[in-house]
């Protein structure tokens, strides 16, 4: 690496918007027209993708592991539900921001507990927080509806214009737009000096502190931001399904989220999104094929993914698009 290829320049180049990314989002938009009978599962992919993105922010960029990310998802979900039930904030987009804010407050408050320990204690603390919240929601059943879930959620039209329909088209487009906006924001953040400092902390917190990065403050900031993202994902879930029940806090939800990120890969933002798509497709295919034993097949695929290795799989999947791109970029070479 020569002198003129400094860190700044490399990171700038990495931050440039690539063809692959354009293609990814074009495909996402195309899904609106192509899969018009599968909006519901597409919607699930969108909010799950956002949820996984929020975990990626702390896991992939700051190295904080969490087994209780559903805590923030649940707070967002219940917050959006309660706002709608009691008519406090009728407009979905505004309610989304409020719900995200509520999760953010919780994220900020719990971040002090989480960043204290090593990875193992982080797992325990995050798991504990999610379980606590679940039990609280169960206990205060006059507010949350307890095990039966919150009843009577009716979501108003988005911006007063677009009402949610039974086919889920509006819901999907809404989720996709929110996902895209928040993705752009996340992309901006991780490529900023702040994002670079996070990666420095992940790689070596001691050295990062030695060069003057305020480690704890940075971790608190990203953890809070991640909570905000998860809260939004939860709110999207409630708004598109008109449901909020105890399982939004469930351990399975947090564990599934880690699986999603394992499938997609952490630390490049798209991992969560790709993972969400793959995970849901697998789930859908297997569970309609064999409603009784589909979990076995999902488990098998996960083991295979780990054994084969993601890198090798991506090379396989991306072989053709890369080839096409290369030919298009250098048409002369194909003749030789």
């Amino acid at each position: 690496m020569s002198a003129d290829h400094g860190v700044g320049e490399i990171s700038l180049r990495r931050a440039r918007w690539g063809h692959g990314e354009t293609a990814f989002w074009l495909i996402a938009v195309a899904a609106i027209f192509v899969f018009s009978d599968r909006y519901l599962i597409l919607t699930e992919m969108a909010w799950l993708g956002l949820f996984a993105l929020s975990l990626d922010l702390i896991l992939g960029y700051a190295g904080i592991v969490s087994l209780g990310h559903a805590a923030f998802f649940g707070v967002g979900a219940y917050c959006a539900g309660l706002l709608a039930v009691h008519g406090l904030v009728k407009e979905p987009v505004l309610a989304l921001v409020v719900a995200g804010g509520a999760a953010m407050v919780l994220g900020f408050a719990t971040s002090f507990l989480v960043i204290r320990g090593s990875e193992l204690s982080q797992l325990m603390v995050t798991l504990g927080i999610a379980l606590l919240l679940r039990e609280l929601a169960n206990k205060f059943s006059d507010i949350t509806g307890g095990f039966d879930g919150l009843q009577g959620i009716v979501i108003d039209p988005i911006l007063g214009l677009f009402a949610f329909d039974i086919f889920g088209k509006v819901g999907f487009i809404y989720c996709l737009v929110v996902l895209f906006v928040l993705f752009l924001l996340a992309r901006l953040i991780v490529h900023s000096p702040f994002g670079l400092s996070l990666r420095a902390i992940r790689n070596n917190p001691l050295r990062a502190a030695a060069i003057g990065i305020p480690v704890n403050r940075r971790l608190i900031a990203i953890y809070t931001l991640s909570a905000f993202y998860a809260g939004i994902a939860g709110a999207l879930f409630t708004q598109t399904t008109a449901l909020a029940s105890l399982d939004v806090f469930s351990f399975e939800r947090s564990a599934d989220l880690l699986l999603v990120l394992v499938i997609g890969g952490a630390g490049y933002l798209y991992g969560g999104l790709i993972g969400a798509v793959v995970f849901r497709v697998l789930q859908d295919v297997f569970s309609s094929w064999t409603p009784q034993f589909w979990q076995f097949w999902i488990g098998l695929v996960l083991v295979l993914i780990v054994l084969i290795g993601r890198e090798r799989m991506y090379r396989g999947v991306l072989w053709l698009p890369r080839l096409v791109m290369r030919r298009m970029a250098f048409p002369g070479r194909s003749a030789s």
Partner: protein
């Protein structure tokens, strides 16, 4: 001339219309039922029993009713309500199902209710037992039971049979609250006294600490409600703590003594008195045939969940027969209201006003019959309606 040509045209048009409608009829020759039950997770046994019972019924009665072919699409929601909702929505919108059925837990039945109303699709609840479910949509019909039905009866029975002090142990969720409330109302109104009241968490409960409290309270009997599937674990810990020798008997709605698990509970279960809607030992020919067929097909005893599924699919068949194959939601619901038939559990009917089930509730005692444990019925309360609604 002109007139004749006109008639010709009319005939042609009529012919075309006829052809078109014939084609339409052909396209609607199948009636699709979306069966959404938990096949994985903690409630899986419920889903499996219902699925088994539905398959058994269709084997016995064929898959055609009133000229329509019945097609069941099985989906697993793992008892998670957002899954239920998505699956119900996809079944209605994409698969164009005429009926949705199943619903292992109350939140799942709730989640699908607005869809049933919106799409005018009947929702046949085969398992979930909270009282208010049928009020959530005019298209909901229930073929399982409500906890009020069994809990009020056991409350009355306990008072009449000299039980004065009762400690209660119920699962901490809506059906558990229902069971406790209805039992308490009837038991205390009759002069009984509740000496201890504990609620145990629904997921993976460890009953031991609660059982110790029960023992210390020294009641005449303990009222127990745990959902189907947890009864075996409960009775095991009951015996381990020595409560079977302390003279504290188990009473309650029959969920804890589910036929599914009863035989594995061992002798500590002997003598437990429960009120419930179904026992595999119900002494009717219909039930004997049902139990024999079920045992032959699946090599196990059917529980009350299986009967809920069996009656649910029967209700759909009977309604289709009555409408002559018309499968739109309003006709089906109209046909289902007031329907009465002989089920393996005894005579049952659908209340035309509440669309909830009306059935006999039996008081049973666990006894050994031919070396196996059974709930033997010894008292019958006829045509019990859901007390959650008759009160209003």
């Amino acid at each position: 001339m002109f007139i004749r040509r006109n008639t010709l045209l009319q005939t042609a048009a009529a012919g075309l219309l006829l052809g078109a409608s014939a084609f339409a009829v052909q396209a609607q020759d199948t009636v699709k039922i979306g069966l959404i039950v938990p096949m994985t997770g903690g409630q899986a046994s419920t889903g499996k029993q219902i699925d088994n019972a539905v398959k058994l019924y269709m084997q016995q009665h064929g898959d055609t009713v009133a000229g329509k072919k019945i097609e069941v699409i099985l989906k697993d929601d793992a008892a998670v309500p957002d899954n239920t909702k998505r699956l119900a929505q996809e079944l209605i919108v994409n698969d164009k199902v005429n009926i949705i059925a199943g619903f292992g837990v109350t939140p799942a039945a709730f989640a699908a209710a607005p869809l049933a109303t919106q799409a005018k699709v009947p929702e046949v609840v085969m398992a979930a037992g909270t009282s208010v479910i049928t009020e959530k949509s005019p298209y909901i019909v229930r073929t399982s039971f409500t906890l009020g039905q069994s809990s009020t009866i056991i409350g009355d029975w306990a008072v009449k049979n000299g039980i004065k002090k009762v400690a209660t142990l119920t699962s901490d969720y809506a059906p558990g609250h229902d069971a406790l409330k209805f039992f308490k109302d009837h038991f205390t109104a009759g002069g009984g006294q509740i000496v201890e009241e504990v609620k145990v968490p629904l997921a993976n409960p460890d009953f031991a600490p609660f059982l110790q409290r029960m023992k210390d309270a020294k009641p005449d009997a303990m009222f127990v409600f745990v959902p189907a599937g947890q009864g075996g674990n409960f009775m095991k810990q009951y015996a381990e703590r020595g409560l079977d020798k302390s003279g504290i008997k188990v009473i309650g709605p029959g969920d804890v003594m589910d036929d599914d698990l009863l035989n594995g509970m061992g002798d500590s279960a002997l003598g437990a008195v429960t009120a419930h809607i179904y026992s595999a030992a119900h002494p009717s020919q219909v039930n004997k045939d049902f139990v024999a067929a079920y045992k032959k097909a699946y090599n196990q005893r059917p529980g009350f969940m299986a009967v809920g599924g069996y009656d649910g699919i029967h209700l759909i068949y009977a309604a289709l027969q009555k409408t002559g194959g018309k499968a739109d939601g309003d006709s089906l619901i109209a046909a289902m209201k007031g329907m009465a038939w002989e089920s393996p559990r005894g005579p049952i009917s659908i209340d035309p006003e509440t669309r909830d089930i009306v059935q006999n509730v039996y008081i049973r005692k666990v006894e050994k019959v031919d070396g196996e444990l059974y709930n033997v019925e010894f008292e019958t309360f006829k045509d019990v309606k859901d007390p959650g609604k008759t009160k209003k």
